[in-house]
Structure formats: structure tokens, C-alpha cells
Symmetry: C2
Subunit: 282 residues, 2 copies
């Protein structure tokens, strides 16, 4: 969760891969906030000239699983249109200049996973807020102003967030004065515009929740909710452009007639925290 | 989950203990469907002359923890009255002749528990439907008619229930022809009366859900929902007496400002299954 400035929204693609013919001028994105990053000889995401985002396929089956999800999801007629908007379009949605990213669910592993994978995930779920809060922040990037620039705590720091840190980050996300300085209290001046209102993030999360109370098609393990808005736009008196998107589908499995109670529980927890901020800022 | 006949509703107490002065004529209850039962030299619950239910304190701290919960809960002003009705009253509510009992939550252990306890619970959560369904049936007792009598599968059988078995048990619970014979299809003839309607179990579960979306006072690990109704009453054209009660509070911990996403997720899963039955029986 984080506050960020989005000067200009570019096109962003939820998923693509290196196997495809790429356009020229691939470069490393400046604004990634979570997920697998390039470095130490590892492949990271790339962006082409037209702003399309390319995410490398992981080798251990997660990549092909994610690709399979996008393929099946994009043609699945059981997904209502008003819910489809919360998912990246396969080939061709937008690249966002900055974002934040909350991994939903108290459990990031699925029952059928391999034993060593379960143990690894469970350890991380217990070390982060996943278990207690039902979700954890995976990455964030907070823009203050020209002087302070961005606040972007490194991944290790974010994964060490306590419940209180998480609550604070959700407040900073909608403040005009985000800072790593703990003496500076976030003003939440954008809370009513970004979180609140009929088109705000809270309303979108509630719409998503209604679907999760009913849908038994997919279980979204280790899936993230990306939240963005345009600060410039608010300062100019226009629409906040607040938006949520689901991302990270490497561990989606079939629902088989049962709701995704793991995702739903975490989503409700996120909703409650955001709802508390809207209420206290009103 | 089960169907049962409740010929006459007696008084039932959610909790008491052997430390108190007991009345005379204690006896073993006939109708317990889940929980710790007497046998092999172990203490089980007892009932006194006036129908009060006495549950033995467990030795390993769970008993005192449960007692502490009842004491604190009964005086906690943050619990609204319309929610309090879903809990047993400390000393003096009713004993039910028969019941069924669903343990809610995909996880029956809490983050602060001892490592060996977590491992034990996690194993059981994975072996039962808890992990996949968000709840598991702990016990059930189904009354058919004078000829067939009760269907009460033993605890081992119930804990081996698959998702489909669970779905079936929820249908048998509201059928006039429950049977262990898999050729006999449950008729769900009481579904609209017991599950549906403004005072039905579904409405009560939804009321409980609304509270769980907001409440951050307690986290109910390893807690059960007991569901009962009076078959005789329906057959005589009167109110079904359908009721839910939360029981088993040995692992309740403080919520500390976070919702109980584990309980809520499992509750939503139970609601969805019951809702499916109401819809398909309408």
C-alpha cells in the first residue's frame, strides 16, 4: 500500500512473456513496486516503446500456470463484465507509473501444493502480517513532493511491516505529506476522494467482495490487489482515477463449487482497515 | 451439520465446570453430537436434574481460557444485543436435545500458539475439509422417523467427510428422509422453512456475518456453529424454531483492531453452501 504520484497514466499489460516477438527498445521499468525484480543476474520485467509491460515467465511451472490462467480467464464467460475490469486485460491494458500492491489471503499456499512449498509459504505468512491481518503489503512507493521525492522502503522493510505499520502505510497512501519520518503524521487529505465516494477504492473493493461471496470458479492463492490513483488529477480538481486491479495469478486454482474464503477473508480485512480510515477522516 | 428431531427443547448451558457445587443426579447426556465425549476413563459433559449442561474443564489451559472468555464476554458492552443471542448465556441457557456442529475457519490454530499445537491442528485442518471449505463438520445426528431412527455417523466418519459429503449432510439436515443409504436422495423438504425465510438459519448466519465484517474485539479460533430446529414443530405447522449458536471458546483471542478474517471466510463459505440449497429447493 502506498501513496504515489501518477503524472501520466501509460498503458500497462498484466502479463506477457519473453517468448513473444518483442518490440525494440526494451528497458527496465522505473516504477515497479513489488514482485520479482531484475538484479543479481536475474531477469526482471521489461517495458517496450509503446509502454507494454513484459513479465518473464518463471521456470518452475508458476509462469506457465499464470499464462494458463490468463488464457482461460480471458475466454471464461462465467466472469461478469463488471468484475473483469478488476483484472488486467491479456495483451494491452495500461502500464501504471507507480502502484502499490497487497497480497491477499492469510494463506498464500493451496492445499494441493508440494510439502516444501507449503512450509516455505507458511513460514513467510507467519513472519509477515498475512496470518494475522489476512493480507500483506508486498511493495509500495509513496510520492511526497519535489523536495521529499518518493518514499520507497525496500522490500525487506515492507515484508517486516507490523499491523500498525500496515495501517500507517494505508494512511500515507492517501496523504499529501507521506514521509519515512515517524514524527510527521499523515494528513489523510485525499482519503475521502481516493478511498471514499461512489467511485473510490472502498466502493470498488466492496464490489469485488460481493463477487467473491458468490463466485466458486477460481481460488486466487498468493494473488495481489494493486491500488492506484492520480494525485495530479486530484490537485487539478479532476477525478482521482482511483483504481484497483488484481494481479499475480501464478497460483490460481479451480474453485470446484466452493468460494475462495481465504481471499475473501483477507479482502474483508483490507476493507475494514480502509473503511476505518475513511470514517476517521470524514 | 445434521438433521435431527428435537421433540422438546430443554434448557442448555453453554459452559459450566466440575469445580462448582453440582446438583444431584448428574448423568451423561444422550444427545451430544460433537466435542469431547466421556469414555475410556475420560470425563465427559454431564447434565443435572434441571437440565443444566456441565462441561468439564480441560487440563491444559484450554478450559481456563474458555472460562475466561465466558466471564469477559458476558460483561463486554461492545457486544450488541442482537449478536449476544448467538452465544450461550453463561449459566442458564438451554440444553438442546440434539444438534449439529460446524467448526468454522480454515485454520483452527492462532498465530501465538505453541509450535507442536500448530502442527497438530494444521495436520487436522488439512485432513478434514477445514482448509478447502473454510469449515468442517464436527458432529451430527439426524433423525428420520420411528422406523429408521437416528442417523449418527461416528466422529471418525464425520471427520473424513469430503466437500461433497459435507454438502450432502447440509441437505440431509433439512430433509424428511435422511439416511446413510446413498441411494436415498435427501428431499430437502424443510429447506425453505429451516434455512430460508426471515427467521431462518440463513438469515441468522447473515446477521452474524454482518457483525464479523465489523467486529475487531475477538478472534474465534476453533469455534463452532451449532444449528438446530424442531421438526415436530414444523410438522404441526408451527415455527421451525431454527437457531444458530456459537460454542467452543477455548481458543478465543483478542482481536486488537483486526477483523476475524479466518472465521468470516469460513462463515461465508457455509452461507454459500446453505444458500445454494435454498435456491435449488425453491
Amino acid at each position: 500500500m502506498a501513496k504515489m504520484e501518477v503524472k501520466k497514466k501509460n498503458w500497462w499489460v498484466g502479463f506477457s512473456c519473453y517468448r513473444q516477438p518483442l518490440q525494440t527498445m526494451l528497458k527496465v521499468p522505473d516504477h515497479q513496486v513489488a514482485g520479482h525484480q531484475a538484479g543479481d543476474g536475474k531477469l526482471g520485467p521489461l517495458i517496450d516503446d509503446s509502454g507494454h509491460f513484459y513479465k518473464p515467465l518463471q521456470n518452475d511451472g508458476r509462469g506457465s500456470h499464470e499464462l494458463a490462467f490468463y488464457t482461460s480467464f480471458s475466454t471464461d464467460t462465467r466472469i461478469p463484465d463488471h468484475i473483469r475490469k478488476f483484472f488486467p486485460v491479456f495483451y494491452g491494458t495500461r502500464r501504471l507509473e507507480a502502484s502499490d500492491d497487497a497480497k491477499i489471503g492469510s494463506r498464500t499456499w493451496y492445499p494441493q501444493a508440494a510439502e516444501d512449498y507449503i512450509i516455505k509459504c507458511l513460514k513467510k505468512d507467519r513472519e509477515t502480517t498475512s496470518l494475522e491481518l489476512g493480507f500483506r503489503i508486498s511493495g509500495l512507493r509513496v510520492y511526497g513532493n519535489k523536495e521529499t521525492g518518493f518514499w520507497k522502503p525496500d522490500k525487506k522493510c515492507v515484508l517486516n511491516f507490523s499491523i500498525e505499520d500496515t495501517r500507517l502505510a494505508l494512511r500515507k497512501f492517501v496523504s499529501s505529506n507521506p514521509s519515512s519520518d515517524s514524527d510527521i503524521k499523515p494528513d489523510c487529505s485525499f482519503a475521502s476522494t481516493v478511498y471514499g465516494g461512489p467511485a473510490g477504492i472502498l466502493a470498488q473493493l466492496l464490489e469485488l467482495k460481493s463477487w467473491f461471496e458468490e463466485q466458486t470458479v477460481f481460488h486466487f492463492y498468493s494473488c495481489s490487489v494493486l491500488m492506484v490513483y492520480e494525485k495530479e488529477s486530484i490537485l487539478q480538481g479532476r477525478n482521482s482515477g482511483a483504481e484497483i486491479k488484481l494481479v499475480d495469478f501464478a497460483h490460481v486454482i479451480e474453485g470446484k463449487g466452493v468460494i475462495d474464503h481465504n481471499f475473501l477473508g483477507g479482502l474483508c480485512s483490507l476493507i475494514k482497515l480502509i473503511s476505518d480510515i475513511v470514517t476517521s477522516s470524514a
